[in-house]
């Protein structure tokens, strides 16, 4: 279980993440080449780049799911993860699907569901939800965690305009509370003062085994 004491003290107040010169290979293909970025409280960073540029790989590396082949990722706070799959079990109701996240997190389930307009679906099995509703349910899990650092991989897939607005409001509220997020997206998000980080496509780079 992660408690605040599990993290090193930030070098500057409000710092949540340091990524230094991270390089990742997938097989013998170079996916990330010396990526560096920092994230402070209140930041929203949009990762851009063509398909296959390594946006998801960078998020997985920052989250700790994947170890960088060189470079360092240092987090100064807990994180919440939204992968590109929704991780909902079709046979369980929305509430049952989110029960584990609720137990581990600090935010109350009704609040999170209310903010995403899911309250009326609480007792519906996930298999009956539309893809946009599932996406919002997966996002509710991020809200439940109460973690300051959000890593969101394509949070808006399948969402209608009204839901994207609602998501934008939730994200703005999170930033106002001193949270930060890294988002990969192909559609513009209703957020202001975002920073963006462009990942170049490395598809043309030849890589060799040097060892």
């Amino acid at each position: 279980m992660t408690t605040p004491s599990d993290f090193p003290p930030p070098p500057t107040p409000g710092r949540l993440l340091d990524v230094e010169d991270v390089t990742v290979f997938r097989g013998d293909r170079l996916v990330l080449d010396g990526v560096s970025l920092t994230l402070d409280a209140g930041d929203a960073m949009i990762l851009t780049g063509p398909n296959g540029a390594g946006k998801s790989t960078l998020l997985r590396t920052i989250s700790g799911l994947r170890r960088p082949d060189s470079g360092d990722v240092v987090r100064y706070g807990a994180l919440a993860w939204l992968g590109h799959q929704d991780a909902l079990k079709p046979g369980l109701t929305l509430a049952q699907n989110l029960a584990l996240a609720e137990k581990l997190g600090t935010t109350s389930l009704p609040d999170a569901l209310d903010a995403l307009d899911l309250t009326h679906l609480t007792d519906l099995p996930a298999r009956l939800l539309s893809s946009g509703q599932k996406r919002r349910a997966a996002f509710a899990r991020v809200m439940l965690s109460g973690a300051p650092l959000w890593l969101l991989d394509e949070p808006t897939v399948g969402l209608d305009v009204a839901s994207i607005e609602r998501l934008g409001a939730v994200m703005a509220a999170h930033r106002a509370k001193g949270g930060a997020m890294i988002v990969t997206t192909h559609v513009p998000l209703p957020l202001d003062n975002t920073r963006s980080h462009e990942l170049p496509s490395l598809a043309h780079v030849e890589s060799f085994w040097l060892s």
Binding site: G64, W81, G83
Partner: protein, 221 residues
């Protein structure tokens, strides 16, 4: 600890929700065991002598059936990523899944082995010993199977690899387990076999979740 119990609770709910998957290994166990009298002939002496062995082999094979989906389903829908990031430690996640596997597979097999044993002519007085051995045996098999399932996770043809990995590791459990179940028939003491069976279980108990946790971490990376 709450997260650990919540994870078991979720798995049990899923097992009840998709009852067909849970019943499949149980039905396999009963059907497989009922085929032996048809093939071996109805001689009560022969069946009584073979009974415990048949039950042990069938239980071992039935335990293998649901292993393929144990972590596979979690990996495919992205739940495993979440569990690795925000859930309890990887070894605890693996242990919770193994415990849920035993509760949904091992425990029903244990109960079903009573009628199957009676059908094969195992005497009532020998049943408690058979059940005690099977209880420890199925627990060890859940642990070993969960470890193997996490190791082949993400590998192509993992389903083929899985029995190849589990069956050699499960042979000590099978040998000592079946030996303990025959003690009643042979009028010997089951103590040594049960001790060794317990030793297998207590070796698996810490080692398998640790190895499985590493397997899960490698699978999501």
């Amino acid at each position: 600890m709450t997260a650990f119990l919540a994870l078991i609770d979720r798995d049990l709910r899923l097992a009840f929700r998709f009852g067909a998957d849970t019943l499949a290994s149980l039905l396999f166990f009963i059907l497989c065991g009922s085929l032996f009298p048809l093939a071996l002939g109805p001689s009560p002496d022969l069946l009584r002598h073979m009974g415990p062995g048949i039950i042990w082999v069938c239980a071992l094979l039935a335990c293998l059936l649901p292993l393929d989906r144990l972590f596979g389903a979690e990996l495919e829908d992205g739940s495993l990523d979440l569990l690795m990031l925000t859930g309890p430690a990887p070894a605890a996640v693996a242990f919770a899944k193994m415990a849920a596997h035993w509760l949904t597979t091992g425990l029903p097999l244990l109960i079903a082995s009573i009628p199957l044993g009676i059908m094969l002519g195992v005497k009532g007085s020998e049943l408690p010993l058979l059940l005690a051995g099977l209880a420890m045996g199925t627990m060890s098999l859940s642990l070993l199977g969960g470890m193997a399932a996490s190791i082949v996770l993400g590998a192509r043809r993992g389903g083929v690899l899985l029995p190849l990995l589990v069956l050699p590791l499960a042979t000590p459990v099978l040998i000592f387990g079946a030996a303990s179940s025959y003690a009643g028939q042979l009028a010997t003491s089951p103590a040594a076999s049960l001790d060794l069976l317990g030793a297998c279980l207590f070796a698996c108990l810490p080692l398998c979740p640790l190895a499985a946790g590493q397997g899960l971490k490698a699978a999501v990376g």
